[in-house]
Symmetry: D2
Subunit: 154 residues, 4 copies
């Protein structure tokens, strides 16, 4: 698979993740960047995402949701990166079976802020199973949470 086909696959996937997943729209999760290194997503703080009304803190479920998506699509980017023998249709078929096996979230500090950004890195790349580590930061760079996810990528 040529590099430009890989990039085109990522571009199309980014559009799906950004616009066509109903739950992402409900939370207004947005794709900031998606390349062969992984997916970067943001979510803006707003009243509907608050979990602790006394302190105006992001609900832990939002953190888990963002990091799960970042981890899964970062794992998939790594799969795209590693394979040169698939065409865009095979990749599209494969992404349908992308799923989370297990997910761990470590909450480091209260989710205060206005824009939260999730990033990820593959720590174990496989043809079937990949493992990612993810991080969530606010707009001031405060580190809100770590994540670790194991994903079925094929």
């Amino acid at each position: 698979m040529h590099a430009d086909i890989k990039m085109e696959t990522l571009r199309q996937l980014a559009e799906v993740v950004d616009q066509q997943i109903p739950f992402h729209n409900l939370l207004d999760m947005r794709v900031k960047q998606y390349d062969l290194k992984g997916l970067e997503m943001t979510v803006m703080m707003r009243t509907e995402l608050v979990g602790n009304i006394h302190q105006n803190i992001l609900h832990g479920g939002v953190t888990a949701s963002v990091l799960d998506v970042v981890g899964g699509f970062t794992a998939f980017a790594s799969l795209i990166d590693s394979r040169d023998d698939w065409n865009i249709d095979e990749l599209k078929s494969r992404v349908k079976t992308l799923s989370t096996i297990d997910l761990r979230i470590d909450y480091l500090r209260p989710g205060r802020g206005e824009v939260f950004t999730g990033t990820g890195t593959v720590i174990r790349a496989g043809n079937r199973v990949s493992v990612c580590r993810m991080e969530l930061h606010n707009e001031r760079g405060d580190h809100i949470a770590f994540g670790t996810g194991t994903y079925m990528v094929g």
Copy 2:
């Protein structure tokens, strides 16, 4: 603390969890039961909660959100159960600092169904830190996910 005060505390907390947490309202998460044994919550499937549009499956972030809430308030119920020396104001002050330290979700099968119910059990009870195991089932009794959460309860 008398048993009836404990029950009144739980009743008031259940109302908060059911109606006053913005993110719970966004997902339409509802308290089914809250007693000294723990919290039981439900969420109805609807389009906005879908993560996989090809298969109409609940987003993994919804699963994580429900199980995190179930775990935290189940841990808090256990704390209420164990202490006889607190009044309702002390408990209300204490619940404000209830927070998740870490959370693990094991996704067992795709989240297909119409009503999802989360339940939990305390496996390690402490005055500061408690650990819960949680489960999510659909209305047919299919086991969708397991959770394990470590919570700061005071």
Copy 3:
């Protein structure tokens, strides 16, 4: 594969796990039972396994070791159970690639006791990846630890 071939495979595997893994011998971990439902292992308390000298408590690494082995071979038993098309040589070849992807241990109470028994159950069975939950109890039935492990089974 006939049921008796499955049982013979398990019997041979049990002998390997019980006697031929150097680290199992170092800890004196013993197979109590191995059938299609899973592996049950025991370890006897002795001075060399102590982690906390003030309180004579089992080292947390022993707990993790026992539960990891129980989880992996319980996952493998489930694979044997599910497949009727493999012969004993294929299974032996497959067990060589059995490996842990990730492992979570929840320590519930101090590891006091004389005989510790680890048991496990498959919670997600797959042809490639399986997930197990494990438990460690002492001889009085005190629940010492929970485990959750994700294993590559082929």
Copy 4:
């Protein structure tokens, strides 16, 4: 507490971890360095620590054991670093209750090598509960495993 008392406490603790914990001696786990930033431990490969006899690979239980110890004492170093109001006796009393609440190990690649080194970093520091991330590398710098542990530090 003066800086030199902190260092003296760490020096005494390092001696205990290195020489007086029976299970550490059984595995021949050695303290490489212990300062306010954390604990660094090594274990040499030898036949008794092998888990996979076909491939001469370190048993996953050894990995879990080393990373658990590294995480716990790294968390404790952070506690020592943060408090100036304790004397050496208070610290010694406090270390007796140091315990692991939960531990996650992510196995990245087979444990091949001759010397394995575990290092750790505190990601959430608390007066009661701390969370660490740990890593295991072999002598060639290959990254064998990640760990995440939640510890009761007081």
